[in-house]
Amino acid sequence: MAAKSVVREAREIHLAIDLIKLGARLQFLEAETCLSRDRLISLYKEIKGVSPPKGLLPFSIDWFMTWKSNIHSSMFYNIYRFMVNHGGCTRITALIKSYQLYLEQAEQQGGEPVLDFTRAWTLVRFFDSNMLELSTCTRCTGLFVAHAHDPQSGYVCVLCRPPSRAGKSRKVNLVVPVPAPVAIRGSKTVSASQWLADVMSAPRA
């Protein structure tokens, strides 16, 4: 029995390390692993080199509805859904794999990941509790994150019908409202607009 629990604990620690590296907050770790709060805090410090951030998690559903956030969360949730439905992954494995794929896609599209890992987890929880659902766009047939119980007929997605200011303020949109989980700042190729965006968002962070 004792040997079994050590193996299980090792697995939990391994999982926690993966989650921390992707940017999970403490509340997320506590909910998804069986490790004690103290152990999680020391693990977090060891990996990140800093104490875990305090305060409440972002909990707004409406955040997922704004233009850029909706695109990114739809991108993420479509992958997550594939992993659960076809990949045969457990909830937490699906979350990790789909977030890694999402990061890859966001990077390829030349932008910072708008959706951080903890927000991706809240997104999944909102879906689990039926507060959000996927709506099918009548033009492109894509599936997009939407409020549950919103009328489905005639739905057109944010990419087929972008809000009027979306295209015009694309440069401004680069100032991401959420701190990015991966250090893009350290990479060698930083465009002028990206540098400006970083400088502008720095004092607020």
Binding site: M75, N78, Q105, Q109, C140, L159
Partner: protein, 105 residues
Amino acid sequence: MSETGKSNEIGDLNLTYLLLAQRLVKEDAATAMFRLGMSRELADLLGNLSLSQIVKLASSSLFLCRFRFDDHPILSVLTDDMNSLSLQQAHAAILLSGQRVEMFQ
């Protein structure tokens, strides 16, 4: 170009596709299935093919991989020049990941 030249090129592409697909499946089956748009059974089968089976399968004058945007409205949305590159890529990613997967009938 001669007919043999063309079918050689197709055979090369088939071989590259099958080898890459198999490597991806062996590395991480679920992620590979997502990238390839394939069901578990199909991915497992691909992962278990021997090298000689792959070579035989690849040498053909017909493509073994399918064009995944087989729907007119989807394709016209994605080739619309009005959108920026990154938005088109995001749109394509959402549409592809929401598609049904290739599987045995």
